[in-house]
Structures are given as structure tokens and as C-alpha cells.
């Protein structure tokens, strides 16, 4: 795996409002990288820039040393960038299993090499992904009717269908209980070990601190700290951003 993601001085302006300000960061292959920050810090905006739903006002996005700043979203998916959404974007008129099936069908249309491998084995691939994400019990439920925690897993399952080399997860654990979050952490580690780099936006600090190799902290659109979870927990600016005052 030598693909990796690089943001160079990315800024996003909404009218006069600066949502993301000169952000530079890199995701190393085979790691779980966290992105935390208070609400409105610009985390989702940054994800939208990486996945192509938003064009940055300035700066560049590089993936495997190639400039993808102006690449269409669907082409980014095709080179291996998968994502989930903070505000759920499920295919609500379809069942859980059909959500995954249609994702496979969509990706089969552009991924002809895999179509040949998969051939008629679409259902076994669906079963594999359902097992992996633990969604077997709700496979036939309508996507609109399952609890948020599981709905987030459906989004993850859908993104996994792409066999992405990097996965952007936007608050995947919100709506999950402690137990679910813990097993979710294990799942992330498993995915990472299988070669998928993960970029994680999350408010659940235990998940971030327990699973991430590296954490970036965003506040008012700027990166204010980078480091291992231990370093971040002690970082003065981070504590100030989260608590609103300096640690004595």
C-alpha cells in the first residue's frame, strides 16, 4: 500500500466565513488517523473537500502523489477513497441488504477487473460484508427503520464494498452505545490491519484515543495540534479549545 493522502494548505470560504483555513495534513498508509475538534471546527467540510463534494477555495489535495483537487467525486471513489456521512445518507427506500447490493452493483460497473473476479458471487460477497459489520440481524430491514448506530454501520459496509485504500469515517460511532463503540473500535483495527487507511472524525474520545495512531485537532478551521493520542491529551491548546480555558 503506497497510496496516501496529503492536504496542502487547503482553505474553504463560505462567503466571508472561513470554514477551513490553510490546513495541511497527511494520512500515512496503514494507519488510523483521527480528526477531532469542537462543533463547527470544519471537520466535515474537510471531508467534503477530500471526497470531492466541495472544491477548496485554495490549496491542493494529493492522493498517491497525484493532484486530485479538481477530480469529480465519483472518480475519487474509483481511485480508492471511500467515505461515510455524519448526516446519514442511506438509500432509505431500500433494505439494508439492497443498500449493500446496489453499492456492489454500482462499483461493478466501473471496476471491470473485480466484476470478473466476483462474477456471480455477489451474494457471497454481500454475506461477507454483512458478517464483517455485524449487520446480519437487520439484513432485511428497511434502511430507514433501523437505529442510528446500525445505520452508521450500513454506511460503513457500503463504503467497504469499494475495497477502498482509504476510508473517511464521519462520526461513525455517534448513536452507538458503549458496547457497540468498543466492538466498532476493534472492527476499525481489523480493517486497518487488512490494509485500509482510516481517517476518522469522532466525538467519542475513548474511541479516538484507543484506536487512533495519530490525532489531528481542528479548531476554527485551523489545525492546532498533531500527535499521538497521549500527546494530544496533554496539549495545552487542545484543552483550551475543548474546555474554553487554560489548564492550570
Amino acid at each position: 500500500m503506497n497510496e496516501f493522502l496529503n492536504l496542502e494548505n487547503v482553505s474553504v470560504y463560505f462567503g466571508g466565513h472561513i470554514a477551513v483555513n490553510e490546513v495541511s495534513l497527511a494520512i500515512d498508509p496503514g494507519t488510523i488517523t483521527g480528526l477531532i475538534g469542537p462543533n463547527g471546527a470544519g471537520k466535515t467540510t474537510l471531508f467534503n473537500v477530500i471526497s470531492g463534494l466541495l472544491t477548496p477555495s485554495s490549496g491542493r489535495v494529493l492522493f498517491a502523489d497525484e493532484d486530485i483537487t479538481s477530480l469529480a467525486p465519483h472518480k475519487r471513489a474509483r481511485i480508492g477513497i471511500g467515505r461515510t456521512f455524519q448526516k446519514l445518507e442511506l438509500f432509505n427506500s431500500l433494505s439494508v441488504i439492497d443498500n449493500i447490493r446496489v453499492s456492489l452493483e454500482i462499483s461493478n460497473q466501473w471496476n471491470s477487473s473485480r466484476t470478473e473476479i466476483l462474477g456471480s458471487n455477489i451474494s457471497s460477497e454481500i454475506d461477507r460484508i454483512l458478517d464483517l459489520t455485524g449487520l446480519n440481524s437487520v439484513r432485511n430491514s428497511m434502511a430507514s427503520e433501523i437505529p442510528t448506530g446500525q445505520a452508521r454501520l450500513v454506511e460503513l459496509a457500503r463504503a467497504l464494498v469499494l475495497s477502498p485504500s482509504i476510508l473517511l469515517l464521519d462520526e461513525p460511532a455517534s448513536g452507538q452505545n458503549d458496547e457497540e463503540t468498543e466492538s466498532f473500535g476493534l472492527l476499525l483495527r481489523e480493517l486497518c490491519d487488512s490494509g485500509i487507511s482510516i481517517f476518522l472524525v469522532e466525538h467519542d474520545m475513548s474511541l479516538v484515543m484507543n484506536t487512533c495512531d495519530l490525532v489531528n485537532v481542528l479548531d476554527f478551521g485551523s489545525v492546532i495540534a498533531k500527535g499521538t493520542p497521549e500527546e494530544i491529551q496533554e496539549h495545552e491548546l487542545v484543552i483550551e479549545a475543548y474546555l474554553g480555558f487554560k489548564k492550570r
Binding site: L54, P73, L90, V102, E105, I106, S144
Partner: protein
């Protein structure tokens, strides 16, 4: 120079009116997120009201201009706006874009209905310009009327006032804040509802100003003409991307001036006869191209969780069973109904086939198309030209054209079904070959053989679908980048274009097909003198021209085939992808989907279905005219009624088609007959007749807010209870009684009314009876548990019943109970 000044002044004046009208649209859109399709109709209504107060011989009639103006602009118009906001628009939160579009369309049709009702008759209503026709001043030799001067001054004043209102007053700031974030405004103590009310009042006033100012420029007042004139303002609003007022004003002026200069260049349309209608069409052409040039919309998700519409998909078996039942019922009915009813029902079904195109496009794929009948009209014209009308100079001309169309259709549609490379090539070639065989062997291609036939051919229908589909692909171009409202407007523009440039086309057009014959291979007089006579089919030695019942059964079978095919499509990989695209375009993109290809294919396919249905509809009617049945208004009504029926279901299409073609006419007839028979209540029945004919469709549309998923599903849900085994007796008894009632009608024991009065109550009593039985059983069960040991013995029988309900095995239970007893 004089001419230049004159045309510039005319352009500026009409442009200023467009600016005013479109500013009203922008104000309401920005504060409520609803594009007010009824805007033009409010302007029209106000213009009529003003005329009534000023010049009518009856009520009003002699009000002085200032008082009449004050009343129309500052009393009537704001009240209309406020009532609309409270009664109709406020309920549209968290509904889909389709519903948000349909309800204003229903309101527009309602206004048109009311205006047609109140201002009936062929009386010429001619409003006078301010200060009379002769009040003018001059620049050089060019005269400028005071009316034109006033228009420009009013536009400038309104522009300044609006700017001041939105940026310098508290009301305006709240109104703008509501657009950005309604809940935040609420949290900060603002009142979003009040802001919305104010904006609707202002929007309505602006529409009224435009209506009153523009009406004297027209000559006589016309309901549809005035409504559509304000539609021209839509293009101006799009110039400002529905948000920017200064750009909107500039847009209005650009449109006004373009039309005026075009009139100058083309000597009011006389210079190039086949373009003569461009003078009325130019604004929508501009609208279409502005939409094409709009920057790519940001991909967004629909957050469908908040949306109230839900469409379930029936199984294939169910759809096959229902289709068979449907054909049987229609055939049975054809034995007992009169020719008139047969022909009404046939019309409903052919309209239903056209409505199926909307189920595919809007219901399944979430793309809006306000021009279903434009495609149907193109289909009908194509079938006519192919079978009857055109002059084909060289025989192979048409065949070649058709093969080319078949190839392009295949290339557009087949890849979306996962066919690539060699398989795609094979599929396209076979499809083109089949079409070629159909045309050459069944129709012959020598001389002018294809045209001037006496019956509609099967290949005529295929040609209708292919041509309509290809044009659908062209109209889909804006769709590749736009969604929702913008797409709806693009298709609306297309519908108006077809209404004027195609249906009113009287010139003969000649085409050259490369490599074939000389340079006039096909010459077509698109719309012969305002009417086309399209023959009935004549397949399988059945003369459909003479046998209406055969036509009825034929179209019911076609409807069922299309319906089952659509349901099958929805359940296929292609259908799942359409659903995914509808539910969340953003998620589709992040899965690598290229939505352009999918959109192009679904537009092509839907237009082809509409074209096919249109040809069939026209063939059933035998004649189509420039103003019936494929106009923009009829199209909007059909679209609206299909949404009311449930656009996500084929049953919605059936409902839309039948209600559109029969229900209101039948109701109108019913009251009309009563009015004839009961002279003393004539006024009441005539009122009811007009009410249903003129306002029925609009009211059906407005009622949609209550059940955005449509009526069709509701009816089906109601009957679903009969599927239960417990209610088989009810189903069997009820059906037998209905069959008996039908049989008595067949052997003419009684007339149609008795049949209706016996069978309909049985039909609707069946689910009610089943429900009552369910309730009965449920309440008995309830008593059992509550009252055990008091009203009943706590018997072993009862215990085993409880065990069974709780799924406890009896062996275990006996031991357990014994232990407990000990």
C-alpha cells in the same frame, strides 16, 4: 434610429414588468424555499380583478383608477398571498421536491379554474393603459406612451424599495435570516412564520403589479396567455439564481429587450415563417439555455429520513396477479358499459401509459419532468408522420432514419443496464436490426409507401417511442447537471417550446438524410393546419376503428405489460441504482457512480414510454389539435394527478390517467344532468358542475399535502386486509355478489345505475367488514386475558391458549407448573 428607440422602449417596458414579477418570485422563494408556480396566475387574477373594478358593466365597473389600484395591489393581492401561505404552503415542510412543486402547480390550476369560472364567456375584455392610449411623449420621432414610462419608473422604485426593505429593515433582515437557518432565527426570538407571511404578501403584490401593468400591452385579457406571460419572468429569476435581486432585474431587462429586438429583426415574426412563434417563445428558450449554463449544482444528499413520502415495491407475482385481474375486470366491464364510457376509460388508460413515464422518471429516479405531454405529443406527431402524413421522397429514407434512431437509443439506454463493449455492440446491433425488420418487412419502404396509410402500424408506435426518446435525451442535457426545481423549469420551458414552436408550426420542413437519395429525403408538415388525423390500429384482423371495446382491452393489456415491466425494472439492478440516485446522489458519487449516464438513460426511456403512450392516445382520439390534448396545461394536470395518485407506484399512474380523463368529466356530466332534470335547483347543480370541472383537479392537488405518498397506495392498503386467510369468506362472498350483479347487468335485468349502486357498495364494504371482524376478534381476545378467572374459567384450554400465544412448549410447561404447584 427611431425604430431602434421604439423597440428599445418597448423592450425596456416589458423587461421591467418581467423584472418586477421575477423579483416577487425571488422574495417568496428565498424565504420559504417554495418556487411559486402560481405566481403568474396571481398576476393574471389581479389583472382580471382590476379590469372588473374599472371597466366591467356589472359588479364594480366604475371605480376610479387609484382606488381600484389600491384595492387590487394592497388589499386583494396581500390577502391572497397570506391565505396561500397559511392554508397551503405552510404544510409543505419536510415534503419532497415533487410535492413542493405539485402543490403550487395545483394552486395555479385553481386560479386558472376560478378565473375561467368568474370571467366566462367570449366577451372581449380590453384594459386601457394608464392615462389612455394617446398619452405619449417623444424622443425625436419615437413616441413613448405614459404607460411605458410608468412601468419603468415603477420598476426602478420597486427595485430601490426592495433593496431597502431586505437590507435596512428588521423585517427584511429576518426574512433573509429565515433562508439561511430557520431554527436559528427561532432560537434568537425571530418569527419565521411571520417572515414567511410577509414575504408571501410582498411576492403576491409584486405579481399583481406585474399583472396589472402588462395586461394593457396584450390587447385583450386571456387567462392562459396572461398566466404564461408572467412565466416568462421565470427566466429572469434564474438569471439571479433565485437569490440575487439585482441580477434578477437585469435578467428581466435582457429578456424584454431580446424579445423586442427579435421582433424588430424578424418584422414581428414574418421574415422567417417557421420561426414566427419565436417571439412568444424566446423567453423560455433563454430560460432553457440559462439553465444549461448554470454552474454544476453541488452534490447533496437528500437526508431522506425527514421526508414523508414512502413507496414500497410490490412483488412480481403480485403485479402479475393484479394485472390479470385488471384486464379481466376491464373486459368484463366492456360488456356492460356504453361506448361513451368505453372511450372515456380508454382515454384514461392511454393517459395512464403516459403517466407511467413519470412513475419511472420521477417516482423511481427522482428526476422531475413537467413536460410529459410534450413527449407524448411528439410521439403522436411522429406516428402520424410515419404512418400517414409525411412525404417520403426516397423509400429507404425513413428506414435509414429509424435505424439511426434505434442505434442512438440503444447506445443511450443499454449501457445503464450494465452492457459494455462487445455485449453492448451486440445488443445495439440486434435492436437496430429488429427495428429495421419491423419497418422494412411489415411496412415496406418503396416510394411513398409508408405514409398515407389508413391504420396505425405497430412500427408507427415504435417510431413514436424512438423519436420521442431521442428528443428526451436532448432535453435531459440540463438534467445531467441539475436536479429538482431547475430541472422542472427546464422541462417546463421545453413544454412551452413544444406548445408554440411545434403545435403551432405550419411550415413544411425538409430533411436530408446523408448518403440517401437527393437532398430532400423527407419533407414534413409537422402540424397540418392545426389538426392531425391519426388512424386507429388494425392488427390481428381486429378493426379497432369500429370496436371501441377492443381498443379498451388492447390498451388495458398494454398498460399492464408496461406496468409489470416497470416493476420488474424497479426490482432490477438498474432500478436499485435509480432508487439510490434518488435517495442520495452524494452517496452514489462516493460509490463511484457516474450519474450522467444513468440520468440520460432514464430520461430517454421515460420519454420513449411517453411517446408510445402519446401515439396510442392520439390514435384512440383519432384527432389531435394544437390545443388538445397535449398542451402544457393538460400536462401539468396529469403530472399533478399522478403525484396525487402516488407517483412511486404504477397504480398512481392508473389513478392519474383515469381521474384526469374521466372523473371530472363524469362528475360534471352528472351534475349537468341533474341541473337539466331538476329545474328549480338548476343554479345549485350548475354551480357544482362548474366547480368539479374547473376546480376539481386543483383541489385534488392541494389535498395532496395530507398524504404525500399518494392515494393509490392508500386504497391498496385498505384492501390488503382481504389477503388474510381469516377474511377469505368475506372476499369470496363479496366477489361472488359483484359477479352476480355484473351478470344481471349483462342479461339486462337492470340498467347501469343499478349495477353501480349494487357493486360499488359491496366493493367498499368488503374491507370495512374485514376490519370490523378483526376488531371483534381482537376485543374478544382482550377480554379473555383481562377477565380470565372472573368471566371465564381458568381452564386447561385457556392455559394452553396462553402457552401457544407465548410459544411455550406444553411438555416443559406441565412439569414447570407441577413444580410450582408443589
Amino acid at each position: 434610429m427611431t425604430e431602434f428607440i421604439t423597440f428599445t422602449v418597448v423592450g425596456l417596458a416589458t423587461g421591467a414588468i418581467y423584472s418586477i414579477a421575477s423579483a416577487g418570485l425571488v422574495v417568496t422563494y428565498t424565504t420559504s424555499g417554495i418556487f411559486n408556480f402560481a405566481h403568474g396566475a396571481i398576476g393574471m387574477f389581479s389583472a382580471f380583478l382590476y379590469w372588473q373594478l374599472r371597466w366591467d358593466d356589472g359588479w364594480g365597473g366604475s371605480w376610479p383608477a387609484p382606488i381600484a389600484l389600491l384595492f387590487v395591489l394592497f388589499v386583494a393581492a396581500p390577502i391572497i398571498g397570506i391565505i396561500l401561505q397559511i392554508v397551503v404552503m405552510r404544510g409543505l415542510e419536510a415534503t419532497s421536491e415533487t410535492t413542493k412543486l405539485v402543490i403550487p402547480i395545483a394552486v395555479m390550476l385553481g386560479f386558472i379554474g376560478i378565473a375561467n369560472w368568474v370571467w366566462q364567456g367570449a366577451e372581449q375584455r380590453i384594459p386601457k393603459p394608464f392615462f389612455g392610449r394617446n398619452a405619449k411623449w417623444s424622443i425625436g420621432d419615437a413616441y413613448i406612451t405614459w404607460h411605458q414610462t410608468i412601468i419603468v419608473i415603477v420598476a426602478v422604485l420597486l427595485a430601490v424599495a426592495l433593496r431597502f426593505l431586505l437590507f435596512k429593515t428588521k423585517i427584511g433582515i429576518t426574512m433573509r435570516a429565515v433562508v439561511d437557518n430557520t431554527s436559528l432565527v427561532e432560537l434568537n426570538g425571530g418569527r419565521p412564520n411571520r417572515a414567511a407571511l410577509q414575504s408571501w404578501a410582498i411576492g403576491s403584490i409584486l405579481a399583481a403589479v406585474a399583472g396589472v401593468l402588462i395586461s394593457p400591452l396584450l390587447g385583450g385579457l386571456g387567462v392562459l396567455a396572461l398566466t404564461l406571460l408572467v412565466v416568462n419572468a421565470y427566466a429572469a429569476a434564474i438569471f439571479g439564481k433565485l437569490r440575487n435581486l439585482p441580477l434578477t432585474f437585469i435578467g428581466g431587462l435582457v429578456i424584454g429587450l431580446s424579445v423586442s429586438y427579435w421582433n424588430w429583426i424578424s418584422s414581428t415574426g414574418q421574415k422567417w415563417p417557421w420561426l414566427s412563434e419565436l417571439r412568444t417563445t424566446l423567453p423560455v428558450v433563454i430560460l432553457f439555455f440559462v439553465l444549461l449554463l448554470l454552474p454544476q449544482e453541488k452534490l447533496r444528499g437528500s437526508h431522506a429520513a425527514t421526508i414523508r413520502e414512502r413507496f414500497a415495491v410490490p412483488s412480481i407475482q403480485a403485479s402479475l396477479v393484479w394485472s390479470s385481474i385488471f384486464v379481466v375486470v376491464v373486459s368484463a366491464l366492456s360488456l356492460i358499459i356504453t361506448d361513451k364510457w368505453e372511450s372515456l376509460l380508454t382515454r384514461g388508460l392511454t393517459m395512464g401509459i403516459i403517466a407511467l413515464s413519470m412513475v419511472l422518471l420521477t417516482g423511481y429516479a427522482g428526476e422531475l419532468n413537467l413536460a410529459p405531454l410534450a413527449f407524448a405529443g411528439i410521439g403522436a406527431i411522429s406516428a402520424f408522420q410515419f404512418d400517414v402524413g409525411s412525404a417520403v421522397e426516397t423509400g429507404p429514407g425513413f428506414a435509414t432514419l429509424i435505424v439511426l434512431l434505434a442505434i442512438s437509443f440503444g447506445v443511450l439506454v443499454f449501457p445503464a443496464f450494465g452492457l459494455v463493449r462487445s455485449r453492448l455492440f451486440f445488443a445495439v446491433v440486434s435492436f437496430a436490426f429488429i427495428v429495421f425488420i419491423l419497418v422494412v418487412f411489415f411496412d415496406g419502404t418503396t416510394g411513398t409507401g409508408i405514409a398515407s396509410r389508413e391504420s396505425m402500424s405497430l412500427s408507427g408506435l415504435v417510431v413514436a417511442a424512438l423519436i420521442s426518446g431521442s428528443i428526451g435525451a436532448v432535453v435531459a442535457l440540463p438534467a445531467l447537471r441539475l436536479r429538482g426545481l431547475y430541472l422542472a423549469l427546464a422541462t417546463f420551458a421545453f413544454a412551452i417550446f413544444v406548445d408554440r414552436m411545434v403545435y403551432k408550426q405550419r411550415e413544411t420542413l425538409t430533411f436530408d438524410i446523408p448518403l440517401i437519395g437527393d437532398n430532400e429525403d423527407v419533407s414534413i408538415n409537422i402540424f397540418n393546419n392545426g389538426a392531425l388525423n391519426i388512424p386507429r390500429p388494425n392488427f390481428w384482423r381486429i378493426n379497432f376503428a369500429e370496436k371501441q371495446w377492443a381498443m379498451l382491452i388492447f390498451v388495458s393489456i398494454i398498460f399492464c405489460i408496461f406496468s409489470v415491466a416497470l416493476i420488474q425494472l424497479r426490482k432490477s439492478s438498474y432500478g436499485r441504482q435509480l432508487t439510490a440516485m434518488k435517495d442520495s446522489p452524494a452517496a452514489c458519487a462516493t460509490l463511484g457512480m457516474n450519474m450522467r449516464r444513468l440520468k440520460l438513460s432514464v430520461f430517454t426511456l421515460a420519454a420513449a414510454i411517453a411517446g408510445f403512450g402519446g401515439a396510442l392516445h392520439a390514435s384512440n382520439l383519432r384527432t389531435i389539435q394544437e390545443d388538445y390534448p397535449f398542451t402544457i396545461w393538460e400536462g401539468l394536470a396529469l403530472f399533478m394527478l399522478t403525484v396525487v395518485g402516488g407517483i412511486g407506484y404504477v397504480s398512481g399512474a392508473l389513478f392519474g390517467g383515469i381521474i384526469y380523463a374521466c372523473a371530472f368529466i363524469v362528475m360534471g356530466d352528472f351534475w349537468g344532468k341533474l341541473a337539466e332534470d331538476w329545474g328549480s335547483f338548476r343554479w345549485l347543480f350548475t354551480f357544482l358542475q362548474d366547480f368539479f370541472l374547473l376546480l376539481g383537479p386543483a383541489l385534488a392537488g392541494i389535498g395532496l399535502g395530507r398524504n404525500p405518498s399518494g392515494v393509490g397506495s392508500q386504497i391498496f392498503d385498505g384492501f390488503r386486509i382481504l389477503k388474510k386467510k381469516d377474511h377469505r369468506t368475506v372476499l369470496v362472498c363479496g366477489s361472488s355478489l359483484m359477479i352476480l350483479s355484473w351478470f344481471f347487468r349483462v342479461i339486462e335485468v337492470y340498467n347501469g345505475w343499478v349495477f353501480i349502486l349494487t357493486s360499488l357498495p359491496i366493493l367498499f364494504l368488503m374491507p370495512l367488514l374485514a376490519e370490523a371482524r378483526d376488531r371483534d376478534v381482537k376485543s374478544r381476545n382482550d377480554t379473555l386475558i383481562e377477565m380470565a378467572g372472573i368471566e371465564y374459567d381458568f381452564s386447561d384450554e385457556f392455559i394452553s391458549y396462553i402457552d401457544a400465544e407465548l410459544s411455550i412448549t406444553s411438555d416443559f410447561n406441565v412439569d414447570e407448573r407441577n413444580t410450582l404447584n408443589e
